[in-house]
Assembly symmetry: C2
Homo-oligomer: 246 residues x 2
């Protein structure tokens, strides 16, 4: 990740960062970013948040080249989450990174990455699927969007066990839709408060896969005549399906 | 552009491709894509479209390794365009390419790339702003989305002449909004049939720039508490501002 292009609109803190209640000591990459990009000085105030916790203000009280001390007060709730469980055919590695940031920034808290016949098997071997690498992208998205609640990401390397054993329970608890060009209803705006949304790979789900999803209780929706790339379909669908911001 | 990941849902044709009415001969990169990715054979039918013209069907009637002949019939109107003029602070080169594809795929037909204080001056020197490079990305977006109408892209390397001399006329002809976090009204869905939409660089427009836009007749809108990257803001805003698909 190029430091320069990384937008940190909130500094995400972890419980390990605290040396005392309300007192934070940082000595990792974040310090470089805050110095070089945010150009912080003694006394600078920053928006901060505790991972999976509250947000608030931090004030720089000590500053060295590699080390930074902050006094923090965490008294506000984080932004509202999207009530959507996103099921996504595993994108190719380069796109995966961007999409993890996107879904995290937009407020998705449940992501299932699944196999599909048009997903190359080699994609499952990418180092970007390692837990710490996924985390890194999700954190980038949270810091971009001023959120603190880490999304949960689950991988299903086999399509059939997912669609037969997992998908029906998701569909039973929510309005479950599968986005598929040219099939089903036009995707309505603000469909429901709780949504499970399945998005296929570039090239789409196969007919067999769409049938399996509909058997699991999903209904088809499409976005009209234009076929968009997965990286654009996701923000479009999330915007359409629910009011992403209050 | 990696051939493999390039989605050609419509083959875009140019008047130069025609050797007779309804008869097309291709001998460039498109042939490779159609052979390798689309795996066309003699008799394969393809969705085709004439640039800035109609769409229809093509049938492969002759095929060699480097050369392809098609019989085409163009009898349908292309998908509807978005009635939006997008004004965008010039993104960094890598993102510019993706964004050109995105706006083209989503149906934007008027794009003004402008300077802003947070745009690095060096971005204006990128080879990706050459007319043929821009065209290449726009064509990729059209072929992705099955559209034929090439967007018009205009560059304004100086902010002030643009906002003082060009922006007021755009605002007079449409509902003109500037997307700016934390200022103005929440951005309403389906605001108006004709929209001029200004989107800032990563980090946003400066206060001075926002003031200049409002003086030119633009009103501020924001997307709520989450701050999204430009590449996500664009699909979100286009979806919110208008029904992107009929």
């Amino acid at each position: 990740m190029m430091l320069k292009y990384y937008q940190m609109n909130l500094l995400l803190l972890f419980s390990d960062d605290f040396i005392a209640p309300g007192r934070v000591l940082l000595s990792d990459q974040r310090v470089q970013h805050l110095l070089l990009v945010k150009k912080i000085q003694l006394g600078t105030q920053l928006i901060v948040g505790l991972v999976n916790g509250r947000v608030g203000q931090g004030t720089v009280v000590a500053l060295q080249e590699q080390q930074l001390e902050l006094l923090v007060q965490l008294d506000e709730k984080p932004v509202e989450a999207l009530a959507v469980h996103l099921i996504l055919a595993l994108p190719r590695p380069k796109m995966l990174r961007r999409i993890l940031q996107t879904i995290s920034a937009m407020g998705v808290k449940q992501l299932s990455l699944i196999h599909s016949s048009k997903v190359e098997k080699s994609y499952w071997q990418t180092p970007w699927l390692a837990e710490d690498k996924i985390q890194q992208q999700l954190i980038a998205g949270l810091q971009q969007a001023k959120d603190t609640l880490l999304p949960e990401v689950t991988c299903y390397q086999r399509f059939k066990p997912f669609v037969e054993d997992v998908a029906p329970a998701l569909a039973a608890q929510s309005r479950a839709v599968i986005a598929h060009p040219g099939r089903g209803e036009h995707c309505a705006a603000q469909l429901a408060p709780h949504v499970t949304l399945a998005v296929g790979p570039e090239g789409g789900f196969s007919d067999y896969e769409v049938d399996k999803f509909t058997q699991a209780g999903f209904s088809c929706c499409h976005l009209g005549e234009r076929i968009l790339r997965v990286e654009n379909v996701i923000p479009v669908l999330l915007t359409r399906l629910m009011s992403i911001t209050q």
